[in-house]
Each structure stands twice: as structure tokens, then as C-alpha cells.
Subunit: 123 residues, 2 copies
């Protein structure tokens, strides 16, 4: 078989840092990433792509300029391209992100939370 | 806010038929679909795209020509483009599929299980 099964909980057991998405699979030119979230991120947008958030553990709020979206485990939300957003979580959240390969997590905002491409948990 | 939160379990409560994927969100030109699976599908492939399966309930086997892949809840697998596959499940499975909009579920195999685009559960 060409690819391997990805067990989401098992992959999360392999890292503990926050705001550091790990690519666990690819779908054409998209990355499937897992990320641990805690605290507040930075306001940013992605001009050229939507971004999917699927929460698998915990409770995530995605702040938008016109209101907040709150996701629990088993809920997903797609942030439309160009829409400013800022994830925030009181407790720890485990989430899956899907977006095209090469998208920078902080968009054009930059700053210390900017993550590098990390596919160390692939395969 | 522009999009709505998708609660996967709540969406599954709205339909009961098998092999009839429902689009619940879009991500750029990709569809996020939910499908109930039971029994055996048809061998097929998608020449131009990978296909992501994420199981949220039950136990799904994806038969491949060189071996089976079995997924439980919380596990995902990407069938590479061009790879023949045939999903099969003894019990009922609830799964999320992600693939580009317009991909036909039976690929080039056709037949009675071919589904039409159904976005009646969007929004």
C-alpha cells in the first residue's frame, strides 16, 4: 500500500508544543496538519485560500472581526480566504487544519508564532 | 460571520441512506462530504485526484489491489490518485470524505451506486 493510516490521537501523542502544526498527510497539493492550540494566536488572514479547522479535543474559539465562532470536538469551520481571524483557547485544544501546502500559519502578519513546514510525523 | 460551524454528528442525524455523500462545507474548490457506508462499494479509481477518508464512527476497510487498509474512528487515509480501491464495511460506518468538487464517487466505473452532487445539508 502506498500511504499509511494516520491515527490522529497517536500522532498527537508524539508532540506537545503549541502553535506548531505537523503535516501528517497530503491530499494533492494540500497539507493535512495537526496542531495543539493554547492561548491566543495573532490576528491574520490568508488572501489566497480558505482554511479548515476541525477540532478533535477541547474547545476552540476563532475570533473574527464580526463575531466569534466556537468549535467543540467533532465540529469544523472553514475560514474564508481574506477573512481576518485569531484563534484563542483557554484550555488546550487539539485540531486538524487543512490548507494548501506552503500556506504560512500567520499569513501576512508574521511574528514569533510563525511556524516552519514540519512533516516529521509523516508516514 | 460568513460560514457556519458544521457539527459532524448533527449532520449525520439528518440522513440515513448509504453511499450518498452530502457536501457540508467547501474549502476552495474542494468538497467536505459526509457519507454513511455499509456493505461493499464498487472497485474504481480517480485518475486525477487523491481522496481522503476520515472515519468518525465504525470500522471501514478500504480494499486495495495490493492489500487492505482498515480505519477506525479517528483514523484517516488518503487513497492516491489512480489507485484502484473498493470500500467495504460489515457494520455501518460514518466517514468524512475530502476531494475536489465534481469528483464522481464511482470514478470511471459508473453503475447504480453513482451519486449526484448533494449539497442539501450545507449552511
Amino acid at each position: 500500500m502506498v500511504n499509511r493510516v494516520v491515527d490522529i490521537a497517536e500522532k498527537f501523542s508524539l508532540f506537545s508544543e503549541h502553535w506548531s502544526p505537523k503535516v501528517v498527510a497530503t491530499l494533492n497539493d494540500y497539507d493535512i496538519k495537526l496542531v495543539r492550540i493554547k492561548g491566543e494566536f495573532v490576528w491574520h488572514s490568508h488572501d489566497n485560500t480558505d482554511e479548515l479547522f476541525l477540532v478533535t479535543e477541547g474547545r476552540l474559539t476563532i475570533q473574527l472581526r464580526d463575531g466569534d465562532v466556537t468549535l467543540r470536538s467533532g465540529q469544523l469551520y472553514v475560514v474564508p480566504r481574506g477573512v481576518e481571524h485569531c484563534p484563542i483557547a483557554d484550555g488546550e485544544v487539539q485540531a486538524m487544519l487543512i490548507e494548501p501546502t506552503g500556506v504560512v500559519n500567520t499569513g501576512s502578519a508574521g511574528g514569533p508564532l510563525t511556524a516552519t513546514h514540519d512533516n516529521s510525523l509523516m508516514g
